[in-house]
């Protein structure tokens, strides 16, 4: 279409109510609308710049100082915080825990989310009910949910899970009070809360697959498995990549549930559940070591950035 910039094309794609006046009034209305859009976007942009982006960047500077929040002196100590970080065993332990959360948690939550979405997609009447039931945990307050699960995992006589084990004559488990089981106990709760979100996005992806493809394949005699592998999965690749990237970031930032499910939020027993973010928080706001905490924040930032770029690159390469 001659005379149209790419921005107008975007509007054309979005809806006809925008396109029609654009044509008749020689673009001014579209310009004004765009301007208004920018104006409204400017408010959150400014807000985020001040509340999030500026503090995020000042972390880079703070990571090179020994600032302890409460004293006015802020000595520039170059890379001493980073040196200390690489020698800090607890830093590596918490970083390892964070990786465990991602590696064990995300695939399971994606898989369950997809299975739920795949099956709910085939329902007619009760689909909304199931959607609501599985999505409910996601909109529940994480703090409240964490505390309820914390009580579930208690030893008998007050822990529900151990009471069930007792009734079934099975040996009780330590759950949150064992360094081996605690991380997975917390992960169970996290997946329970997370699955609803994955399900909903997968569902949106599934709904976007044109029905003709399935009809054509069925005429050719494809079975359900072939439909799934040859049509459904390739068609929701975009959805999957989106969930993979956002999920990775979300699991790398696990914090609330650990703070609330471990005794006095210490990420125990013996730091076995403490994620890097909690260790950063601890250093910044309990030990007041803001400089050191900033250094670890920068590390986490770079790590998340690299992971995300890597994921985007890999998935793009496959597209080509």
């Amino acid at each position: 279409m001659p005379g149209y910039s790419s921005r107008h094309l975007l509007f054309l794609q979005k809806g006809r109510e925008v396109m029609l006046p654009t044509l008749s009034k020689n673009n001014t209305l579209a310009k004004r609308k765009a301007l208004w859009a920018y104006a409204f976007l400017a408010v959150p942009l400014v807000f985020y710049s001040i509340i999030r982006i500026y503090p995020a960047f000042s972390a880079f500077y703070l990571s090179l100082t020994d600032w302890d929040i409460i004293s006015s002196k802020k000595d520039f100590i170059q890379f001493a915080n980073y040196q200390r970080m690489f020698q800090d065993k607890l830093f590596w332990k918490t970083f390892g825990n964070t990786i465990k959360y991602v590696v064990f948690g995300l695939p399971i939550s994606l898989l369950i989310g997809f299975i739920l979405a795949y099956n709910i997609d085939r329902l007619d009447v009760t689909a909304d009910l199931y959607k609501a039931v599985y999505f409910l945990p996601y909109i529940t307050s994480m703090v409240a949910a964490a505390w309820v699960w914390r009580w579930f995992f208690q030893p008998a006589p007050i822990g529900v899970f151990n009471n069930i084990l007792t009734v079934l004559d099975l040996p009780n488990r330590k759950f949150l009070s064992s360094p081996k089981e605690a991380l997975f106990s917390i992960l169970t709760m996290t997946i329970w809360a997370d699955v609803g979100f994955q399900m909903l996005i997968f569902l949106a992806g599934l709904k976007n697959i044109p029905a003709q493809y399935y009809e054509a394949a069925k005429i050719d005699g494809a079975n359900n498995w072939q439909l799934l592998v040859r049509i459904t999965l390739p068609m929701i690749r975009g959805t999957f990549i989106f969930l993979l990237i956002t999920g990775t970031i979300r699991y790398l930032r696990i914090f609330t549930q650990v703070l609330n499910m471990t005794t006095q939020g210490d990420g125990g027993p013996l730091n076995s559940t403490k994620p890097l973010v909690l260790y950063i928080y601890d250093n910044a706001f309990n030990k007041f070591e803001m400089g050191y905490a900033s250094a670890m924040t920068v590390f986490l930032f770079v790590f998340i950035l690299m992971i995300t770029l890597f994921q985007m690159k890999v998935t793009k390469d496959e597209d080509a």
Partner: protein, 441 residues
Amino acid sequence: MKAKEGCEMKKRGLFLLVALVMVILPVFGNGGTETVAKPATSEKKAEKTEIVYWQYYYETKVNLMDQLIKEFQAANPDIIVTQQTFPYEQYNTKVAASVPTGTGPNVINLYYGWLPSYIDAGYLQSLPESVFPTQKIESEFLPLVDAAKFDGKYYALPTAVRSLALIWNKDLFKAAGLDPENPPKTLEELVVDAKKLTKYDKNGNYIQTGMSLQLNGQIHHWIREILIRQFGGSPYTEDGKTVTYNTQAGYDAFKFLTDLQLVEKVGMPNFMTDDVTAFKAGAMGMTIDGSFRLGTLNAVPELHYGVAEIPSFKGVKSNFSSFWANGITKYTTGKKLEASLKFLQFLTSEDVMSRWMTAIGELPAKKDLSNDPKFSNDPKFGPFIRGLSYTHATKFIDEAGQRQVWLDAWDEITLNGKTPKQVVDAAAKTEQAILDKYYKK
């Protein structure tokens, strides 16, 4: 053309609006959440001096303080005191976060274990000798108050102090065939009674424990200042700068404590989530706690409990005490400083102290009052007050960090099967590093 110009005007107006928002937003963003009186403003109005007082939210404390402020203002009509409170869990973080902004209270209530960091950062000013002479403080106040003394100067003073005592459930004693009026007086008796008070289900899970082992509650004080001393050691050198519990006494004391779970099986940490919940629910025979807990326990009418001095061992008695002290921030000057000092004098008066004990359950910080038979023979407060005569206040540098040392030591023994010697040595090393970091900078 006119229409187009109008459009341009509108555009310009729009950008002005956006620019305005950009400028105003951060101002409100900061001002809206912080209702903190900025020092050195609003002084001119009506010649009244306004000072701000901060403490954490604890209902009885806040109510009493409101009442006290009213009385103080009636006696000093030129002073206005504003009380602001924050939830206990976030209190220290909140205070720390307010420091770099240079805003905040004039008089502030701080846990004595936090004082070193704040004094070191220059947040508190030392109390002037002219109003609070060191000699007078030391002759009037209990000796443990010197935990607020740094480089020969006092930086804060408490209204009240706290010590520990053994609290036992009389009904559970009766049910276990024990004399409900005769709590254990020695550690040996404590073990015998605790065993009788413990009940298990068929899988060996506790349904009732004999003794609190809530290390992150008060039990880490029991090991540090009481058991280690009773087993013949001492936790630190006199100046509090060096850890000295990595000796046989320390190993024995910690073995005794962990054996209560591993060998005697009379309890475990976090039973029913924590000791207070378990004791209130009538599922724990004995606990060690502070006088400030009595209010919580009194709120459960069906709970019949008694208070006794901490059991002795080999004839050694010991106790741990702590306090929340009021200090004055560095940016409080001129008239505000005068008003703050007056307010602090009021808060450390004997009248306020005795009312504080009745209302809050914390013990008077002055010797004369705590020696008053009216207080020391009280059936519930008496054991706490008598404990003050042989008490120790740990010179904490990083209370949470120094507590974590013992939590980890406990887990290493009960979960990873290490020996008391191994874990106590490791604990000493970690804690010494915390102390060194503070004292050697």
